[in-house]
Amino acid sequence: MISLRGIRKTFRDGGSEQVVLDGLDLETRPGELVAVVGQSGSGKSTLLYIVGGLDGDFEGEAVVAGRSLRTLSPADRAAFRNGAVGFVFQAFNLLPALSAVENVMLPGHFARGGARAGRSLAALRSEALAALDRVGLGDRAHKRPGMLSGGERQRVAIARALFARPQVLLADEPTGNLDAVSGATVIDLFRGMARDGLTVLVVTHEERVSEAATRVLHLAGGRLR
């Protein structure tokens, strides 16, 4: 599902070059919940952005959900982000002006081809409500993010990530801003998704997440061990 070979990523800061990922390899299978741990600045988020098609400037071979990311045009990479992967961020990254259900609907607005392209707003809303129901927030659908707790916001973000029925879910410190109870709820959701056949790649530094993972990888020196 995720196949990375020899991934190298560098950042240039003035005249100097900083190597963040240095020949990184990774293979995952459907149904795996993989936790990537490592120190701050070790490149965990960078790895996630490469896998998710947010960052196309890298060396090496990356095949995710059957697509070779190096060869995708910007428009194809956007379509890949829209349908093949879902993101969950530490800071939730919901649009504050939109209600929970409208945030969940967002990927539907940018669908090209596939089942969701051409769907009416009403149909998208109905699907988004169903997604919110699945994360236990059906009754909070019309609240804006500012009216929701941290745990609820993260569940809205998870519902949005799952809205397009992706093959890969990418989570960047998903429990970092949550209390113990909310964090446990999110971890349970991830476990359930993995059981349903989704590949879940979680970047974290929290033990409770890595304990729930089927595999834990350490990112250090630009490589996974």
């Binding site: 428009a75 539907g108 607005h109 940018f110 669908a111």
Partner: protein
């Protein structure tokens, strides 16, 4: 779906920042409103001016030269041969002869069937000009305009403007009754005395009663004259022994307005003069109105440009404030084109809202201005019902200018938004 989705997002974004949106729409509203208001004012005043000075762009009035020895030498007058030569000039579609009637006509009684408070002993001298029927045929609606049988009423065509001047100036000043609208007067007969003049010693030896029949109203007849059939003028000249002095003038109808300058040059080359009085006045008035309207419209367009700058500045700030939101959209599948389209759509909606409001406000402002004008201005001739001429295309133009201004203002912010790097901005 993408555009519907983007529209949905754009509306939500505008709703979230409704104060900023209202400010931007207000800027577009002022520009579009000013444009519609000033252009409508120019068009309205232009219409009124054209009714006041109905110069016809295709007519060239040929008159004998002011100073010429030719008549003394037996030529140079506007005789039939000259008219024939004029009619053959390139670009001339028709030539209409005019002959000022030198036999006086006077009216001492009101038109039959009309009560005007005609003062006792009041006599009006009626200057007349004989014209070819073709000159006024378009305004006759098929009514006959030819020298009548003996004892029959003489058909006349009056200036369209005469009625307006009579009702607004003469009637109030002399305490006469106003006349109904022009077409209601057609067929009216005025008892007159042929050969009678109110000027001492100008009355002819023979005076007889006749009637004038109003056959039509035309902008091609001068306001101070009545047009009678050319043959009637000739007959009266024969009856009263007036020598033939050639035609007073000849109206040449150009095939196209563009032909007028070359026709004028050819006429002068033939030794005749061109009387540009009425046309020149109409052109001067038209030019003044057009220049004034153009200047005000330019001012309004500057306002639109300022509105575009306001939108540019506001949307730039908005994009800077929404960098993370835009990165989130990219994370869920928005392309650079989607992001650019979203910002442009927001601007377009602002422009459309502002333009629609501006067009509506300009109409309200025009109604207010008309109300004030009607309260403070006297009822002068040709005073229009409204000083503004709004039309659907003007509303559409105001709307389009507002939308285009907003879109132009949004180009740079939209490009900046499309350049946002999601990987850097979302962290």
């Amino acid at each position: 779906m993408r555009w519907r989705g983007l529209l949905h997002l754009a509306l939500e974004n505008l709703r979230a920042d409704w104060r900023g949106a209202a400010l931007n729409a207000g800027a577009a509203c002022v520009g579009a409103g000013a444009l519609a208001f000033f252009v409508a004012l120019g068009l309205g005043v232009g219409d009124a001016a054209r009714r006041m000075f109905p110069g016809e762009a295709r007519l060239v009035e040929v008159v004998p030269p002011a100073v010429s020895l030719a008549p003394m030498l037996g030529g140079g007058g506007l005789d039939d041969a000259a008219v024939s030569r004029l009619a053959r000039l390139p670009g001339v579609a028709a030539a209409y002869r005019k002959l000022t009637l030198r036999v006086p006509i006077a009216a001492s009684r009101p038109p039959e069937g009309v009560h005007l408070n005609w003062p006792t002993g009041f006599t009006v001298q009626i200057p007349a000009v004989g014209v070819d029927a073709g000159l006024v045929a378009g305004d006759l609606g098929g009514r006959p305009f030819a020298d009548p049988a003996p004892e029959g009423p003489i058909p006349v065509v009056a200036s369209t403007r005469l009625l307006e001047i009579y009702n607004k100036t003469i009637a109030p000043a002399w305490n006469l009754r106003r006349l109904p609208p022009g077409t209601a007067l057609l067929g009216l007969q005025l008892p007159v005395r042929i050969g009678f003049s109110i000027v001492p010693l100008k009355t002819e030896d023979r005076v007889y009663d006749s009637r004038l029949l109003l056959a039509g109203l035309s902008d091609r007849v001068p306001v101070y004259l009545l047009a009678v059939p050319l043959e009637t003028a000739r007959r009266l000249h024969r009856e009263y022994g007036k020598p033939d002095q050639g035609y007073t003038s000849v109206a040449l109808l150009a095939a196209r307005p563009d032909d007028v300058p070359s026709i004028g040059a050819a006429v002068r080359h033939m030794g005749f003069a061109v009387d540009a009085g009425d046309r020149a006045m109409a052109e001067r008035v038209g030019t003044v109105v057009a220049v004034t309207t153009g200047a005000l419209a330019f001012l309004a367009l500057l306002m639109c440009a300022l509105a575009a700058l306001a939108v540019a500045q506001s949307l730039s700030a908005s994009v800077r404030a929404r960098v993370k939101d835009i990165a989130i959209l990219q994370a869920v599948g928005a392309t650079a084109g989607d992001v650019r389209g979203l910002v442009l759509l927001e601007a377009g909606l602002l422009g459309a809202a502002g333009g629609a409001a501006g067009a509506a406000l300009s109409r309200l402002a025009a109604l207010g201005a008309d109300a004030v004008a009607f309260r403070i201005l006297p009822d002068f001739p040709f005073r229009p019902e409204s000083f503004f001429a709004f039309s659907p295309w003007l509303y559409l133009a105001a709307l389009a200018v507002a939308v285009v201004s907003a879109l132009l203002g949004a180009l740079s912010p939209a490009a900046a938004a499309a350049r946002i790097d999601p990987a850097r901005s979302i962290a």
